[in-house]
């Protein structure tokens, strides 16, 4: 089986189309970043409070919004999380406070606002930690234990919480549902209704990020990206020639810009893992670029008499089969991640899905034409008499290959 046999596409002849395509997407992304959605930093970078809540019934977002408003939490971002069937909601309080203690209070306020009709003196079993349950059991002592009560009740509380979270998915509809829990004592379960009630929700994930950490992370992410690019530049300059490094870095910058732009256009949060994905893309896109460059370097030695644009075209075509196959296979795995990897990895896999498409395209459509454009410019310059004349001899490719 073979998809690409003896292909001979004039890629360089289409460079103006490529340029137009890249420009449209980059400019759209930059416009969105500047004037429309801006850079949609996730909570990791902008700071704030995120509370993930799972309800026992289909949640009414407007109702939740009203409840939050009554509790003095204005304009929170409330959205359905993951598949609607899971009844999960994400409540996002943007950071306005600069003080970490105030952020902490945000979480408690959300929980308190959602807990309606609390029976007097009872605690919410759906949001109780194992410690709360243990303290309650220690107080009640339903098993009439003497000395090692602490240890036994800790284990009981843990078993209850484990059953609630791992088997029942976090939300109990009634305390009776705990009857099936393994390793629990009937007397313990029977004592629970005296001190607990069940609300209709469970907070299963909380993130509170202070503004200071957010700013620091933004700086670090920027630095990491810059160092990564600088690393490429140096390595490629060392292995090939500096212009190859420059071309690769411009290409990767183009990929990063379009990917981030796409996140802005789609209004998808850029979280820490998305940055990790983008850094991976820098590596991946370089992979593709290097494969083409390696071939160009090899062909320059073999085809000394031909024009560089022909050599580059031929190199791209020779590696096209590999480029498409690898991109296709990596894309396949990333697509599996995007479709089946769950909500937590959604942003991460989206960045990879976009990035692999762009990265593959750019190694053909951006990196190689830059080499040819540079070559043309040098020949052009050396034709004119001037102080730098004679740097590259006309007719001979100015680009050469270092020894392997």
């Amino acid at each position: 089986m073979e998809f690409f046999r003896d292909v001979n596409i004039d890629f360089l002849g289409k460079k103006w189309y490529f340029l137009a395509f890249s420009l449209v997407f980059s400019v759209a992304g930059v416009f969105s970043m500047l004037f429309w959605h801006h850079i949609p930093w996730g909570v990791d970078f902008r700071g704030g409070t995120l509370v993930y809540v799972k309800f026992s019934h289909t949640p009414n977002l407007n109702e939740i919004r009203r409840t939050m408003d009554r509790a003095g939490l204005h304009d929170p971002k409330i959205q359905t999380y993951d598949r609607p069937a899971l009844n999960e909601v994400l409540i996002d309080l943007d950071v306005r406070e600069t003080n970490e203690a105030a952020l902490d209070r945000g979480k408690l306020k959300i929980i308190q606002a959602l807990e309606t009709n609390v029976p007097a003196g009872k605690q919410d079993l759906n949001n109780a930690s194992s410690l709360t349950i243990k303290n309650y059991l220690m107080d009640k002592d339903p098993m009439h234990l003497g000395s090692d009560a602490d240890q036994k009740y800790t284990a009981q509380a843990q078993a209850i919480v484990d059953y609630r979270d791992k088997t029942l998915g976090g939300v109990l509809n009634s305390i009776d549902e705990l009857k099936g829990a393994p390793d629990t004592n009937p007397a313990v379960l029977a004592s629970l209704p005296d001190g607990f009630f069940v609300s209709d929700f469970h907070t299963f994930d909380v993130a509170i990020v202070g503004p200071e950490v957010g700013g620091q992370l933004r700086r670090q992410a920027g630095l990491a990206t810059l160092y990564s690019l600088a690393g490429m530049l140096v390595y490629l300059g060392f292995r090939f020639e500096w212009i190859y490094g420059v071309a690769a870095v411009i290409t990767v910058f183009h990929d990063t810009l379009i990917t981030v732009g796409a996140f802005s256009l789609l209004k998808q949060d850029i979280s820490l893992t998305v940055i990790a994905a983008i850094l991976t893309l820098i590596g991946y896109s370089n992979n593709d670029t290097i494969v083409v460059f390696d071939r160009i370097r090899e062909n320059i030695k073999l085809m000394r008499r031909e024009k560089l644009s022909d050599i580059v075209n031929r190199s791209i075509n020779q590696t096209l089969s590999r480029t498409i196959l690898t991109a296709g296979l990596t894309f396949l795995t990333v697509l599996a991640l995007f479709l089946f990897g769950g909500e937590v990895l959604r942003g991460f896999s989206l960045a990879l899905v976009i990035g692999i498409l762009i990265g593959t395209y750019s190694s053909i459509a951006i990196a190689a034409p830059i080499l040819v454009a540079y070559q043309d410019w040098r020949i052009e310059k050396s034709k004119r008499p001037g102080p730098v004349a004679g740097v590259g001899k006309p007719g001979k490719p100015a680009l050469s290959a270092k020894a392997k």
């Binding site: 299963f204 994930d205 950490v213 630095l223 991976t280 992979n287 599996a336 991640l337 392997k404």
Partner: protein, 539 residues
Amino acid sequence: MNKPFLWRVGVIVAALLFFLFGIFGVPNSFSGGGLLAAMTKRINLGLDLRGGTHLILQVKVNDAVNVVAQNAIELLKESLSKRKIEYTDITQPDLQNNPDHILLKGVQASARGDLLSIVQDDLPEYDITGAADNSWILSMRPQQLADLKNKAVTQAIETIRNRIDALGVTEPTIQEHGLGQYQILVQLPGVDDPERVKDVMQNTAMLEIKQSLGGPYPSEQAAMQAQPSGILPADAMLLPGHSAPGAGPDEEAWYVVSRVSAVSGKDLRDAQASTDQNGQPSVSFTLTGEGGQRFYNFTSAHVGDSLAVVLDNKVQEVANIKEPIRDTGEISGGRMSEQQAKDLSMILRSGALPAGITYLEERTVGPSLGADSIRAGVRAAVIGMLAVLFFMLIYYRGAGINADVALILNLIILLGFMGYFGAVLTLPGIAGVILTVGMGVDSNVLIFERIREELRNGKTPPSAVDQGFSHAWITIVDTHVTTIVSAAILFIFGTGPVKGFATTLTFGLLANLFTAVFVSRVIFDYVLSRKQRGEALSI
């Protein structure tokens, strides 16, 4: 079957066994469940997969600097008065940002030499520079200042570790975080209630016993008015306290206490939760030999006076000194619960924090989310992997088997690496494993495509394989190095989950060099050795 070939097969089998041991160790049983249990024992799950609490703390290192600076000021005052040098004022002009700066005003010009020699002899860690109007600025030497701040962070980590260990949290991670920002990363697997841990960690637990000179007063003004001339004596200070017994809990109470402490938290040998004479929860403590001696001297000199037990600059309790006390004491009052008494005694035992801390970030991941994530991640990994294996088989036929073997071995080596290095598997880490599959197959594709090309150019199968490998090798090295460079940078800058991703990606790519190049080549050589001359290669 020549000798080098057997030798290479031996290397592969040895690697396979070595890394299988890395994943599973010696499992109790070879059933699916037994193997899974053995595997989860060797490969640690990150916080995002097992649930727990993740905190980032800021150590207010300037607190520690301030303590040293205040000691320096006391020392300076003493030396100045000893040498009879007059000055108008001594202050810390920038307490917020540079608490080490000490401004000394109005020193007569003739005392310059004396002043310089005092600083040189008594405060060797300080630099002194002259300023306008006979003022001098003392500032700590940069090296000393940096050491002091770093020491505060190390000490805070040590103290927090003691406290968390005492709470019985299993496998906590407590380490310095970030790049020189004086932050600490604390990860507590399985902790679903961060509130108590946070309280326990944040408590500076600065215990002092001072002489009580008056109180309680209902307000600060009342306390001032009670002083002979309306101002506090130089050696006294005003501190808030718990409301007096019988008063409402919101009522204020202020005490005038001595500035110097008889004993402090450093002098504690032990602290235990107990109950006071009213049956209320309290904390009793014992002092070290030296601290006990000082306490004895102090209480002997002040029989009939009152002492104040001060915790974190709040008066906990005031008691009458009936007789000299040597080495025991009690902290009660303040309406402690049993749990609070237990925590406080533990905190006192663990030592005081050298500086205050604040929380910059808090994440709690519920175990249900972690379980869901694992299921989804593993499902995506299996689907992605199967799709790739299947495709390679269809597209490259015979050589596809070769690639598939290499890919599976790649995965085994990657997981084995993680087992040996105690690397943490996070959710992005699982994604890294998937990505490794996708990128790992790239090397195979590169080589196979090259071999096909060489075959098309009329080369014999053995020479095409040889050429394919040697040409693709250069490209593979270049691509792997650049990707590992970005992974390394991720590892340096990232935290938690992202670090896990960088780790799996790097290990995966290293393993790939071995499997795609070495293992794959051995399989090709084996296939070629069984073929007749001129027989075609299935690729």
